[in-house]
Structure formats: structure tokens, C-alpha cells
Amino acid sequence: MLNFELSSEQKEIKEMAMKFARNEMIPNASKFDESAEFPMEILTKAWELGLVNTCIPAEYGGTGFSTVESITITECLSYGCMGMNTAIMANDLALLPIVIGANDEQKKRFLTPFTESYKIAAFCLTEPGNGSDAGGIKTTIKDAGDHYVVNGQKMWITNAGFADLFVVYGTFDSEQKHKGISCIVIDDKNVEGLEIGAPEKKMGHKCSDTRAVTFNNVKVPKENLLGKLGDGWKIAMKTLDHSRPMVAASAVGGAQCAYDYAAKYASERIQFGKPIASHQAIQFMVADMAMKIEASRLLVYKASWLLDNNQPNTKLASFAKAYAADACMEIATNAVQIYGGYGYSKEYPVEKLMRDAKLIQIYEGTSQIQRLVIAKEIFSR
């Protein structure tokens, strides 16, 4: 049975998220891009409506959405503003390892507060010296008897400046490579030795908060370790199976937004006595955009559907992430092209989309790393 239709409830969810994007996000997107201020009020409103932390299961007070529903929401929020969506999505990225790797008591303790008020979480994997090669991280999580001690530095951590909870990856023994990697939760932002750096100045996603995080002998209770020492890599890989379709969905939302602007502008802008949309060069660009958005969206839905049906989705998740991110970059670039000189101006919305699109090819595994994953799936099976 093949069915491309969302259920009526899913359609309503999409409708509502889209309304939020159009009314609350789009009118403010350029303002927050300019000021690089964290859009706390808009994010809180999104939380109140249930648009944040869609990964939390119903047992712990969440909406209990499937991946298909989560990514539908992500696409809409990213349509509203890719930067604001990064702040929202980073919560899911940080909470997913808990959903995947925590025991019942930990889930209650860590997840439920996120359903009671708007709280912010940060996912701490990348380090100054280890990005794509996440398996080589150097942060340490050492057993110190009645607690663990964390030492090291993380880089590019989204939400860090506002986070109430940090999910931290480290190794208890770097000799053991992937098998040494462990995942621990720091739910006390004032704990001694936790240092949050200054906000990074970025090309795009400016209103999202990105900082370095340093751990100087940070003591963490034993009951905050997810699984056992050495379970971290497994948890991280499973997290990526969930989060990559989500990031891919954000690329679809950004691309759709760029396309909508470009198609409208092309019908209105007159050159050589007719709308530029009647020049074939423009028509082909717009046709390619529409085609690639649909292809991206279908990949995202399939990667999510596999996950919801308990089937392996690693390859599809990477297909979706790489294809949608690359398409989003191309589409946003061509939207600027279609706007001509106006596209290059901050008075018009598309240059921001072009800057924002770039990040999607970088975080959650670069477009190259996705191809590496795909090739590994092809040749090692």
C-alpha cells in the first residue's frame, strides 16, 4: 500500500504550524537576523502551542508525535525562519539521546520539565579539533567513585548561552575509540567548572545562539549517565537517524520559502516588456526548484516513514540530509539570481535565505560526510 496523503489530523497540524510561521516568524525574521538577538518571546509562544520538543513521548508529557509529524512541523517552522528553527530543533537534537538512551527514571527527571515550561537544551558533541570526525572527541568523562568528572572543550554548541540542560559526549578511554564514547546529562547550568563562551558571530542563523562550552572538572551525578560507559556512540548514531530527517526537513522549508518568493517575484518583475517568468531561462530555474523541493520532501518523508515503521533508515536519512541541504543551497542561490540586483539587497528577503541555507550543508554531518555514510552503507553491506 502506498499513500502520499497526510491524515486529516496531520494536515491540521501542518496548517497550524504554517500559520504560526507566517504570522509570528516571517514578519520578524529579518529583524532578528539584523540584531542577532535570541527570539525568546517567539520561541516561548511556539512552546506554548506545542511546536517545540515534538520528540518527547506522551508518557513523559509530550505530544507523542511520530517522526512524520515532527518533520512536518519542522518544515513549516523552517519556512518561517531557518535561524529560529535551529533554536527549536536543537532542543530535539539534545533531548533525542535521552528519549533513545535513558532509563525510565531519567526520562521522567529530564524530559518532563521540558513539557511544563519552556526550557532550552544543548547537544554537545563537536569540539574545536573534532567535527566531522566525531569519533575522535577528546572530552573525557571519568569515573570518580560516587560521581563522574567531565573535562574538555566543545565548539559550535547551539543554544549554549540559554540552556538549562546539556547533553555531553565524552570518552572514558580514548584508546578504545568509538567504544570509549559515553553520553552524560548536565542538568545544572550553574554547576562549578561549566564555562559558556561568547556568542559566535555567524554568516546566517544569526538569532540562534552558538558558543563554545568548556568543562573544567565538572562533577556530574552517577545517575546522569545515559546507559553505560561506552554506550555513547550507539546513542549518537541512533540520534542521527532521527535528527537527520528533521534537519533535511528544515532544508525543505527553507527551499520552499525561497521558491515561493522567487516564483512570485518572477511573475511580477517586468524586463524586455514582459514578466521575467516568461523568459525560458527563468522558467527552467523555477522548474528545477519545484522539482528538487518535491524530491527532497519525498526523501524526507521516506526516511521518516522507515523510522516510524521500525526499519533501518540510515541510508535514507543521509540521502535526505545531503540532497535536501544541497538543493536548498542551490534554490536559495537561484532565488537571489531571479531577484537580480534586488536579491543582493537586505531590503529583500532572499539574501538571508541564501546565508541561512549554507549552514544546513554543514551541521548534523556535512554534505560530504552524508555521502561517506551512504557509500559505507553501499559497500559494507
Binding site: E15, K19, L49, G50
Partner: protein, 262 residues
């Protein structure tokens, strides 16, 4: 309180309307439906009134096609308690619609203390249903409401009139109130609200169930066609002061004799 809200599902404002095959109505097969925007103010006011009066219920009534029920579900996701849907073609006239609403309210077995509607539907702009419902149910009604206060059985209603001026009405419940933009800010349907709405009762009725038949029809529709294309606008250049006087004269002449608007 028994609070009722009448809502209509209308084509999305971006819809490109075209006549149907035999030109008896608009083509509805590929329309995206939304809740009539003025009805959103009605739903919001009903929910505010419910919140201020413990034990109240909000019942939504809609007459129309059953294929898409977005508007009703949205109202329940926003917080309405139950809904009644009278199945009907989209081409009912105002009289039949009002009679069907009255019938559906009777079927609910609740005596309304107040009925909220939008001031008009943005598709046919008939502006008749609220007054007809009130008349048929022998209730007072006030339309184009931008201010609403309630205490006991007394209502103080602000009504917008020509030129932006405001009239203040006092009314007693039961009463019908037709809402305008500016009355409140309609809430979003939250995601938990959408999930909860699934379990709220939606009763479907036929026109016969509510005592309406073709014999009630006062208006029948035919010969739908698109308006003629507008001729392109005229442009006047008057940068040069010497010619401005003549150009203004010419424009006034055209407005008077050709466009006949002054």
C-alpha cells in the same frame, strides 16, 4: 451558559475562483477551505466567555459540505466542546442556511444563552444569516461588534458604524452577537488542542433532520461568469509644472465623464 457559535467554511482568500461546468455555482473541487475569518473572532469571544463563566459549554454549528471539516475541527482544537454539522451543498441561500442553523441548535437540546457569528462570510458577502437566525429564533441581535462586555444577563456591545465611529448597545441574553475584526485576537489551535479535538463529539445531521427542504429556497443561482478583464490603467505624466493644470483638468474630466465616479 450555553454558548453557540455559527461558523462557515469559505474558500481560502488566495483561491482563484472560476464558475463550475454548468455555471450554476463556483467550481469547488480543488478549493482549499478555511474558517471564515470573521468567525474566528466569534469562536474566540465564545471561548473567552466560557472561561469567565464556569460550567459553560461552547457548541459550534456549521452548515455545508462534509468532505472537508477543517473549520469545525479548528474550532474544537481552539477549545469548543462539541459541534453539529448539517450536511448541505455549498449553494444554499441565506434563508435555508439560517433555518438549518436554527434546526441544528434545536437538535442540540440546549437552549442558547448567546449565539456568536461572524458579521459576514467573505465568500458571498450576503450579510444576512446572523439577522435571519435571530429573527427566526425571536432573539435580539447586534452586528459588527468590536467590543463585548458581559455581566449577569446584561451585555454591553460596541458596534462599529460608518466612518469608524462606535455605537454602544445594551442587550440582555439570550441574544445573537455578530463579530467584527478588532474584537479580540483569535488564539491558535495548539497541538495538544488538535489532538484533544479528535475525541470531541461531532454530530452530523441532514437537511431533512433539521427541517429544511428545497421548498425553503428563496434564491437560486445561475449564469456564473468571470467579470470582464479590467482595461489597463491610464498614466498621466505631470512632472513639468507648466502642464500640470491642463493634466489635472483632463483627469477630472475623465473621472467625471468616462469613469463617472465624481
Amino acid at each position: 451558559m450555553n454558548i453557540f457559535v455559527c461558523i462557515k467554511q469559505v474558500p481560502d482568500t488566495e483561491t482563484k475562483v472560476i464558475p463550475n461546468g454548468d455555471a450554476t455555482f463556483i467550481e469547488t473541487s480543488s478549493i482549499k477551505w478555511i474558517m471564515n475569518p470573521y468567525d474566528e473572532f466569534a469562536v474566540e469571544q465564545a471561548l473567552l466567555l466560557k472561561a469567565a463563566n464556569a460550567g459553560s459549554t461552547v457548541t459550534v454549528v456549521r452548515v455545508g459540505g462534509v468532505k472537508d471539516t477543517e473549520a469545525l475541527r479548528t474550532a474544537m482544537a481552539m477549545g469548543a466542546d462539541e459541534s453539529f454539522l448539517v450536511e448541505a451543498d455549498d449553494n444554499l441561500d441565506s434563508y435555508m442556511t439560517a433555518k438549518a442553523i436554527k434546526g441544528a441548535i434545536a437538535k442540540s437540546e440546549k437552549t442558547p444563552d448567546i449565539i456568536f457569528t461572524g458579521k459576514q462570510a467573505i465568500d458571498d458577502d450576503c450579510l444576512q444569516v446572523p439577522q435571519l437566525v435571530a429573527q427566526m429564533m425571536e432573539l435580539p441581535s447586534v452586528s459588527v461588534i468590536v467590543g463585548f462586555e458581559h455581566s449577569g444577563d446584561k451585555l454591553t456591545l460596541k458596534r462599529e458604524i460608518e466612518g469608524g465611529a462606535i455605537e454602544v448597545y445594551e442587550a440582555t441574553t439570550p441574544c445573537l452577537v455578530a463579530c467584527n475584526k478588532g474584537l479580540n485576537t483569535p488564539r491558535y489551535a495548539s497541538l495538544p488542542g488538535i489532538m484533544k479535538a479528535k475525541r470531541k463529539p461531532l454530530t452530523q445531521l441532514s437537511l431533512a433532520d433539521v427541517g429544511v427542504s428545497e421548498e425553503d429556497r428563496r434564491v437560486s443561482y445561475s449564469d456564473f461568469s468571470l467579470p470582464p478583464e479590467k482595461p489597463p490603467g491610464k498614466k498621466f505624466e505631470a512632472m513639468d509644472e507648466a502642464v500640470q493644470k491642463d493634466i489635472v483638468k483632463e483627469v477630472v474630466g475623465l473621472l467625471r465623464n468616462e469613469a463617472k465616479v465624481i
